[in-house]
Amino acid sequence: MLEVENVHAYYRGNEALKGVSLEVGPGEIIALIGANGAGKTTLLNCISGLHTDMVGRISFGGTDIAGAPAHKLVKHGLVQCPENRQLFGSMTVEENLEMGAYLWSEQNRGESLSKRLEHMLRKFPVLKSRRRQLAGTLSGGEQQMVAIARGLMSDPKLLMLDEPSLGLAPIIVEEVFGIIKEMRNEGRTILLVEQNAIAALDLSDRAYLLETGSVTFSGPSNVFMKDARVRRAYLGKDIEAPNSAC
């Protein structure tokens, strides 16, 4: 469904992505893990059209989308839930969800927008009780739920989640991953970027490990789990002696 081929991206004059390739097939959950600063968000932004300083091939559902402006990708069915939620804080929960389906009427759907909204609120009962509240006043976990619900409103073909567990307490993180698990069980295609490697690997079918702009390892998630490389990528090489640099 999504094919990224040999993408080089530049950020402030430096190469942030050095020839990255990845694939997401229909119904798959793909995890993109790696330490902070590895380039995961840059890659998502290249796919979403928010980061334009790049070269390479990106195609979605057979259509070439590299360089397309961000607002044109929703109608292809490609939706991103950006890092740090990025809700419309001064708008209500309801309005945020409506914005998620901004192009709904243009896409000739079966049901009306208000029916879709009710459907989504039923799926997320916590949000239903807060529907008229301003999104900026919700807790971190509730905001993350709004972000995911907003992403789902347009019934996307591929949903990209950028670090959904960021800044959330462990209990809430569990809840969020529970929701993602449900989405998996419903057959949704997801590209999940996460620093929390264990949870991401647990949920996904395949994974890619990104280190300073390059994919250093990819394969089925259960293979990853056992690989020492992941551990090293996060916690460093085992040190033999203190301060071995000197």
């Binding site: 004059g13 330490a35 902070n36 670090e163 300073t212 789990m225 040190i239």
Partner: protein
Amino acid sequence: MRIRLSGVKSHLGLVILAVFIVLFPLALSNPYYLNVANIIGINTIIVVGLTLLIGYAGQVSLGHAAFYGIGAYTSAILTVTYGFNPWLALVLAALVTGSIAFIIGTPTLKLHGHYLVMATLGFNLIANIIIVQCDSVTGGPSGFPGVPPLAIGSWVFDSDIKMYCLIWSMAFIGIVLGLNLSMSRVGRGLRALHSGESAANCMGVPASKYKVKMFVLSAVFASVAGSLYAHYLSFVSPKTFDIFFSVELVTMVIVGGMGSIWGGLFGSAFLTSLPNVLSSFDEYKDIFYGFILVVILIFTPEGFIPGILQKLDFYLKEKGQRNKKRIDDSSEEPGLNSVSGIPLADSCSSKRLEASNDIILGINNISKSFGGIAAASSLTFDVQKGSITSLIGPNGAGKTTTINLIYGVYKPNLGTIIFRNNRINGLYPYQIAAMGMARTFQNLQIFDNITVLENVMVGAHAISHNEFFVSMLHPPSYWKEEKLIREKALEALSFFGLEKEADLPACQLSFGEQKRLEMARAIVSEPELILLDEPVAGLNRAESITIAGLIMKIRSRGATVLLVEHDINVVMSISDKVVVLNYGTMIAEGTPIQIQKNELVLSAYLGGSL
């Protein structure tokens, strides 16, 4: 070195200007143009001050016509109604104007945002109305006549040519003072705060105070120009001091190039002479004016002159080479050979100092929330003098917040921070810089509008003292300090292998070089404690190893280092102590080996255990 060259370029420019000023009236056929030249000279005095305010300090004023007017009216009223000596009146007028500017500037310049524009606009409107209404004092809408000419002894400046000499002498002095200030420690501080106010504060630049001082200074320049105007035309009318003239003045600055005093001179000359050159112009003046302003701003926002020069440059030099960013070419993983000529062996040969048990920085029970979200929560840990202590933890754990709390960027809600036995929570960043701390920034905050060397010299702001007056006049003591700061800055640059890039604009450095520049900027003031926020983020293995070695070298020179980092290899190989944060509180501390085996830490990072 190129800085001296730009000093030479300036001197050359001044010589050419002086020659031109002397020859101009001799070459003139129509004496009317002398009058135009005089007005240009008067406007230039205002524009020099305004250029420093807008181009250097980055603050826009739409009220300088009011300061001009207050200078003119005060001089007129004091000399005519009260019989003051014109020179004394000029000085008093400047004092009055300066005080008003201080009153307006102090509350509005404390804040972020464009409040000064609004305030000066409002002030100009009010001043204009008051001048028109108080007609018994000011002569009202018909103006104030009979202002006597200036005189020095028996030399009375009562003709166009005599005023030409006086006006252009003063304009010349104004340009010299302005150029001096722009190239000085204060000028660097102003440009730094324009580029990044928060970062400049952390270098010791008292941003708010500088903004106010610059605003007052520019108002004084405008006032002096106004006094000259009054004595020249012997008549003052309120029409000259309305907001349209304020807009014209800013246009002169913009057209000439916002950061350039020479450009300001050009803008003043161009826009003042324009209506005079085209006689039937008046009808279409506004259309033309508005049109060129819009066009220049869209296509050459850095100003007409710099814009033309840049385009010329582009074609004369190799296409694109001049402005192209330098690319990091160290993409392979080397052995222990270093990058960019910094011998790694050097950094290891220095004796490794044992970290003492003295505590140089104590964080005690610090809590900080932002709108209900706790960024730091009863955080407590110490940093030993002479150690390299690392702060690690997952994203969102509060590491950068901790650095900002230590440095005074945020004020803690609870708890205390002790540095060298002094309580520092509650101090402002520029005060903390003066106490012997320095820092770098997670999101790289170099000042991209000045050169590499100037960036590092700003880092020494907290340990130097040349202030506004000294910086304009350049007495011998000024040069002594400048030389010292320059030497220290060059030394700091060569520590990081950047001495050859000293005169390049900082924005042209590659990412890796910019990170090293930030660190050079942090060590130049020889601080006791350096806070490094993700110094190797975004660098490849080779560069990270080099930086790691340099951090150890910094420590061997006696500084203490507190390091926030995600690159675990670097952290583990150079730290004496590692402090692990999660959800704003400390969950573990110890030596690197202890931390690596700590299950709590593992689960914090990975979300479970492997």
